[in-house]
Amino acid sequence: MTSHPREGWSQRGARRRPLRSAGDVDGIAGAGTGSFGSRNAALGTRSSGMSRRDFMRMAAGGAALAGVGGLLGGCQRPGDADITIPLPRKNNPVRWPVFDDNEPIKSGLAPETGATLQIYNWVAYINQACIDGFCKKYKCKAQVTTFNTMSEAIAKIQTGELAFDVFFPTIDVLGPLVEGKLLRPLNHSYIPNIHQAWPDFLNPFYDLGWQYTVPYTIYTTGISWRKDLVDEDPYTMANPWAMPWNAKYRGKVAILDDYREAICLGLMKQGIFDLNTTDVHQINSSYNQLLELTDLVDVLIDNNDYTEIPSGQTWIHHAWSGDMAAAWEYMPSGVPVDVIGYWFPVDGRGPVANDAISVLKSGSNPVLAHLFLDYMLDLQNALTNIGFNGYMQPIEGVTAETLIDLKYLPKSLTSTVVLPSNFRTGVEELQLPNAANDAWELAWQQFGGGL
C-alpha cells in the first residue's frame, strides 16, 4: 500500500452527500394534507416571527405545519414541480424501466480497439493497479476523471458533452439517472463475475435484476473512539449512539459532515431507526439533539475520522467503517493501533450502505465499460482494490480473515468488516421525497449555522 484513498480528497469529504431527486411529496407525517410540499414550507414558518430555532425546538404539530403550507406558493422556482420517480425501499423494490431509445448493447461484441476507457470516479476511490491490470488485459488505455460531489458529477454528465464510459453513482441517485437516460442498461452476458458478488446484490431492491448497476464498495456507519482516552466502552453501554453526548469530552467529539448521517445519528440516539423518516417531528427532535450536542461538547463537523482519531485530535468520532479500516495507516509513531475502536451494533441494526458502478450512455466504449465492471467484480481484483481503497467490496471471499491475512486490516478493527447479514439487519439511508429532504436539509443548515 503506497498511498491512501483519502489523500487528495476534498476536505469536506462530501462524496456521500446524496443528491435526491424529485419524487413523491405525500406521506409526510404530521403534514396533514401534504401542503408541506417543498422546502419553502419549512422556510415559510419563519415569517411568523418565531425564530427557526424556537420553531424547531417546539416541533409544533400538524396544525402549525398546515399553516405553513399557505406560505409556500410564491417561493417555488420554475421547474420546482414534482416528477414522480419511484423511491426504492426494501419493502418497495424497484425495477427500473428500459427505454426503447436506450437499450442494452448486443451480446457477443468485441471490445473496442485502440480505445481509451473514460472512467468518472470519486477522488482516489480506485486502485490504479486495477486500472493498469484491466488495460493490460484488454489492450486499451484508460483515463480517470474525478469529482468531489455527486451533484457535481451529475451536473457534468447532464451536459452530454463528456463521453465518460464508467461511472460510480450512489444508489440514491439511480432514479434520476435512469429516468434522465444517462445510464446505459447492462447486458449481463458481459458480466459473468456478478456471480462472485454476495447473493444480496444479485437482485438488489434498489435495482431489481441489476439492470443498471453492479455493486462497488460497502460500508457501515458507527462510532470510533480512542480506547486509551475515553473511559466508556460503547460495547457495554446501554445506548452507544448517545456516546458523543458526554460533556466530559468537550472539544474532543466530532460527527460526520453529511446531513443524512448527522441527522440519522440524532434519530438513532432516540431509538428511531427509520432513517428515511418523513416525520417532521422526528427530524426536529434530531435537530434538537444535535443542538444539545453543540451545547454539551462544542461538536466538530468533519469527515476526517481516519486521521483525527489516530492523532488524538478527537477522541470520539461518528465514523464510516471504511475510513476506520484504513485509520491504522495514520497512527503516530509510538501509538499502537489497538487504541482505536470502532463500534457498530452487534445485532447489525445500524446504517449500512453500498456504492455502485454503472455504464454511462454517453460513453463511446460500452463493451469495454461492461468488461471493466466485470473485472472489478473478480475476487483478486477486488482485493487489490481494497488494499488501496480501504472500503470493502461485497465479493465472495472478501472476509475479515482474508483482509487480516493480507494485512489490509488489523485484528483490533475487525468490527469495521461488513457482513452479508448487515444488509438484511441494517438500515439504509435512501432517497427521500422532496419535501422531507427539504426538512432534513433545513435542519442541517440551521445546525451548521451555529444558532
Binding site: 469536506r12 422556510l43 420554475p78 416528477i83 468533519d302 422532496n434
Partner: protein
Amino acid sequence: MAVAPPAPTLSPPSRSAGAGAAAPQPSRKPAFRARMRARSAEDRIQSWRPRWFWASLAVPGAIWLLVFFVLPFYVVLSVAAGALDPIFQTPIPVWNPFQWSGASFANLFREASFLWPPFERTIVYTAIASALSLAIAYPVAYFVTRYAGKRKTLYLLLLISPFWVSYMMRMLAWIDLLQVGGYVNKVLEWLHLMNSKNPEGWLSGHASTVVLGLIYGYIPYLIIVLYAGLDRIDGRLLEASRDLGLGRWRTFWRVTVPLSRQTILAGMFITVLPMVGDYFTNQLLSATPRTTMIGNVIEGQLDIANLQGDGAAASMVLLALLLIPMIYYVRSTARASRENV
C-alpha cells in the same frame, strides 16, 4: 477703461530679486515656441496613429473584465434567479432576465434567522483580523520602506515568500502546529503556560484560531499594499517636517499616517474582501457550528444540488453588501485625488 497688458520683455528675470520684490514678467516667446514644438510633435504622432489608438490599449483589460468578471457574474445571477431541473433538482440557469425568479432571494431573506448568526460572526472575525493585521503589517511595511536600506529587496522577497506556497498547504501546516501534540502546545508547555496533562485543543472550535488563520492567510497582501504606498511618500516631506521642528513621532502621526491613509484603506479593502468570503480557513482550523461564517454557509449550500440557487443568491447579496465599502473606497480615492490636484 481697458488696461493694457504689460509689454512682454525679452530680458530674463532677475535672480537678484527678493521675495517681496515685484518679479519681472518672463518672456513668453520661448514658452510659446516650446508649446508649438510639442504640438507639432503631437501632430506628427497623430499623423500616423488613428484617434482611437490610445483608447484601444484598454481593450485587453476590458475583454478580461468582460470574460472573467461580467460573464461569470451574470451566470451566477442566472443560477440564483433560475430554475430547478425537475428530475435531478440541479440548478438550471435562466439567461433571459424577463424570466427570472426571485424565489431563491425570497428563501434567503426568510432564512435570515439562521443566516444572521454566521453573518454576525463573519463581521466580528473580519473586523478583529483586519485590525490586528493592520497593527502587524503597518510597522513591518514602514520598517522595510524607511529603514531596510540596501536589504529592502531581500525583505520584500521574504515578506511575499508565503505566496510561493499554496494557501491550502499553509493552512494544513497550521493544523500540524496547532494540533494537540503540535509545536504550539509544546512551546506553551516548555514555557509553563500550559499543563501537559490538559493540552489545549486549538483546533477544537476556537474563534481565536479562526482569526489567527485569517490574519496569517491574508496579511501578506496587506503588507505589500502598505509597502507600495509608504514607499511612494516623498521623503522630502518628512525632512521638511523634521526641519520645521516636529519630532519623529509627531512627524509620523502628522505626516506619514495622513499621507498613507489611502494606502491603508486600499490595503484593508484588499484583505477584508477575501476574509468575508473565506470558508476554507474556518473549515480547516475549526469546523464547529459555533464558528461558522457566512462563507461556510454558502459553501454548504453549493454542496447540495437543490440549494445551489440559494447559495448563488447568498453570494449575490454578499456582493451587494460588500459594494458599500467598495463605493466608500472609490469616493474616498476620488476625493483624495481632487485634494491633491
